[in-house]
Amino acid sequence: QATHRKQRRKQQKASCKRHALYVDFSDVGWNEWIVAPPGYHAFYCHGECPFPLADHLNSTNHAIVQTLVNSVNSNIPRACCVPTELSPISLLYLDEYEKVILKNYQDMVVEGCGCR
């Protein structure tokens, strides 16, 4: 039972999920023109999409079938762990003409991950 629990925990650990990723604008030198925020939590998706796909992995019908085929033919890859829900962020920045702009950018933050 202990071995099973350990295996399940290892599998859960490796399965597709959202991970923390803070993008610091000073790391890429964008802090010179982006006034606010100094950075933001972007997150990323990483992990396995194992057979059989669990409900919480937000799979599409296609991903379920692809995973099923992979279980019998390893030449076909598993479904990919990708963002399934994204949200915007607002940036306050100076443009190339030194005009100050507040703009909303779509799909900048990962809200949810899934196997697709």
Binding site: W33, E96, I101, L102, Y105
Partner: protein, 276 residues
């Protein structure tokens, strides 16, 4: 990283990976750079000088409207109702200072006029301007009239009228006045320091869409009544650097044009999402 949006380290790592010829690497990196610039709606990497001024109003709007989760800040003071509505629909808010070299200030006994020109050519063609406000700071008259009472209010002492016009044609004679149409007007007390917001949407949306030529605005400050020192009363409404004594504070007190627009991509800036 000074020239483009890709940091120098990332550029070098990709070039040295050896997967491509140096020429191919350079082409791929340049294409990626263009995609990044396009994503931000930029033509080249911004390289602002240290003297670039970020208006406090834009910072306040950021804290209020940001979808980043910081909604603790209240609505910026003296934000026009029309601007608040516009911000909820806009996904791009731009601010502009006027071209000081093109201003024309005239002062008569009871009337001050100032012509402003704002260069709006940086607004991309695909951006639809839904609203615009002209913000003018007026400072308390020091040593001028006392706070208005019901009696001096009735005579007009301590009050100014600010009229904002769109200029749509040159004067018919050299000493004549330009052709204008009234956009917004307000009666204000000179005992208060505050920003006034004027709705200039009809003119700016036409200028940005190319429907009408941008000849700028004319702001007229009428000083009715006889009370107070005429010179200090002229200085009350900060429409020109020459009327502003403290040069250090001028960048944050000068007139500001704010446009609210949408480029067709995504939700408005004020759009709030549910906390997960």
């Amino acid at each position: 990283g000074a020239a483009g949006l890709i940091p120098e380290v990332g550029r070098r790592k990709y070039s040295e990976s050896g997967k491509q010829t140096p020429e191919q690497s350079e082409n791929f990196l340049n294409e990626f750079e263009l995609r990044l610039l396009n994503m931000f709606g930029l033509k080249r990497r911004p390289n602002p000088s240290k003297l670039a001024v970020v208006p406090q109003y834009m910072v306040d709007l950021y804290h209020m409207h940001s979808v980043n989760g910081d909604h603790n800040t209240k609505r910026p003071r003296n934000m026009g109702k029309h601007a608040e509505r516009a911000a909820s629909k806009a996904n791009t808010i731009r601010s502009f200072h006027h071209e000081e070299s093109m201003e024309a200030l005239a002062s008569l006994k009871s009337r001050t006029t100032q012509q402003f020109f704002f260069n709006l050519t940086s607004i991309p063609g695909e951006e639809l301007i839904t609203s615009a406000e002209l913000r003018i700071f007026r400072d308390q008259v020091l040593g001028g009239t006392s706070p208005p009472t019901s009696s001096n209010n009735s005579t007009g002492a301590g009050l100014h009228r600010i009229n904002v016009y769109e200029v749509f044609g040159a004067p018919s004679s050299p000493e004549g006045e330009p052709l204008t149409r009234l956009l917004d007007t307000r009666l204000v007390q000179d005992s208060l320091s505050r920003w006034e917001s004027f709705d200039v949407s009809p003119a700016v949306s036409q200028w940005a869409s190319g429907g009408r030529r941008n000849h700028g605005f004319q702001v007229e400050v009428v000083h009715p009544g006889e009370g107070g020192d005429a010179r200090s009363r002229n200085r009350h409404v900060r429409v020109s650097r020459s009327l502003h004594q403290d040069q250090d504070s001028w960048p944050q007190a000068r007139p500001l044009l704010v446009t609210y627009g949408h480029d067709g991509r995504g939700d408005g800036v004020l759009h709030t999402r549910e906390k997960r």
